[in-house]
């Protein structure tokens, strides 16, 4: 895993770090504490198509994970990456 860059999503209030996992980007949002992260996670619809009152048209299927104060977004269909993320963070709480 290599840290690449930061990016901003208009519907989350912290910047993400884009980490590369097996050549694919994983967006990691780090909140001040687990309660805030849980509140942000609660804004994501179960299929990941909506965050609060925003609707992103994702380029790949979204998979959202949360553990502690981390909220993680992977866009893609690589089963190995999803497995590794689920192993680290628990099952996705929202995905398509």
């Amino acid at each position: 895993m290599v840290q690449e860059q930061r990016l901003r999503q208009p519907f989350f209030d912290v910047d993400a770090r884009l980490l590369m996992v097996d050549g694919e980007g994983v967006q990691v949002f780090e909140y001040g504490n687990a309660t805030i992260a849980a509140k942000q996670a609660a804004r994501v619809s179960s299929d990941g198509s909506q965050v609060g009152t925003s609707k992103p048209l994702w380029v790949e299927p979204p998979h959202f994970y949360r553990k502690g104060r981390l909220l993680v977004l992977y866009l893609g269909e690589d089963a190995k990456i999803r497995e590794r993320l689920a192993c680290l963070l628990g099952p996705a709480f929202a995905e398509r």
């Binding site: 990016l7 198509s49 009152t53 609707k55 992103p56 048209l57 994702w58 380029v59 979204p62 866009l75």
Partner: protein
């Protein structure tokens, strides 16, 4: 091409007076019951055009598509007006601001956002197209651009997707991707009848207040209609064979300009339902 123009004040009133057929609801793709509050059966939502020149035809086609149901009426008309937003596509009360820009490798092609009051009433919206992706070979084609603009703008009406499995229901409110081997496909680049059914359902009632900005309430600079097709505004009417088109441009003083265009046979035959400014 033969072209003539009719410039008039007050035609808008006639357009707004069109009757609304009672809703016949089969579709169920309302976005959470969100809707613009309004006190009339039919209303006009201003689409603030903050787009670069290459995107403007897609917004015009989108506005035209949503103004032109094939077999029913629509409670929601759109009018393209000068954009009032900024680089971040900040919202403006009572309107939907439509923008394009390089928003980064954040994973989304398009993003629609709305603000809500009272749990259900949309007060303002924005629709962004991400040129970080649309400037790449995979996404930079007219059909994909049309699909995404049509969908993002319509989310701000209160519409959700009809399907998300990637198949085409021949509506821009699905997840069909007009890329790769489907790049030349014109499937899913316009709304379909179910979208208008759903709009009629969502807007079957009247509210006691309005969250929609009045058409004449803008203070931005007057837009001239010129020989440049991009200044003609929205396509509001087109003959079935695609030869004759009427474009409508609203001005900030409440007036509007109609531009009638008679297209060549070749332009019409290429795609009779399309805006020929885009598909030629």
């Amino acid at each position: 091409m033969i072209k003539f123009r009719v410039k008039s004040l007050g035609i808008l009133a006639g357009a707004l007076a069109c009757c609304v057929v009672a809703a016949t609801a089969f579709a169920t793709h309302s976005w959470g019951g969100y809707h613009w509050a309004r006190t009339t059966a039919q209303f006009t939502l201003k689409l603030g055009d903050n787009m670069s020149a290459d995107w403007k035809p897609y917004l015009s086609q989108t506005s035209s598509d949503w103004n032109s149901p094939a077999s029913s009426s629509t409670p929601l008309l759109t009018a393209i007006v000068a954009g009032q937003s900024n680089k971040r596509c900040s919202m403006v009360a009572g309107t939907t601001q439509v923008c394009n820009g390089k928003y980064g490798n954040n994973g989304w092609l398009g993003l629609a956002s709305i603000n809500i009051t009272g749990g259900e009433h949309i007060t303002q919206g924005s629709a962004k197209m991400n040129d970080t992706y649309f400037s790449t070979a995979k996404y930079n084609n007219p059909n994909e651009k049309q699909h995404v603009v049509c969908q993002e703008v319509a989310h701000t009406f209160g519409l959700d997707h009809q399907s998300t499995d990637g198949s085409s229901l021949n509506t821009c409110m699905d997840y069909f991707s007009n890329t790769g081997t489907n790049a030349t496909s014109t499937a899913s680049i316009h709304p379909n009848a179910h979208d208008f059914d759903e709009l009629n359902t969502i807007y079957a009632h009247l509210d006691t207040t309005t969250t929609v900005a009045a058409l004449a309430a803008t203070t931005a600079a007057h837009s001239e209609v010129t020989e440049d097709p991009l200044t003609w505004g929205s396509l509001v009417r087109q003959s079935p064979e695609g030869r004759s088109s009427v474009y409508q441009q609203f001005h900030h003083d409440g007036s509007m300009t109609l531009t009638h265009v008679y297209w060549t046979e070749e332009a019409a035959a290429a795609c009779p339902r399309c805006d020929h400014r885009v598909y030629r």
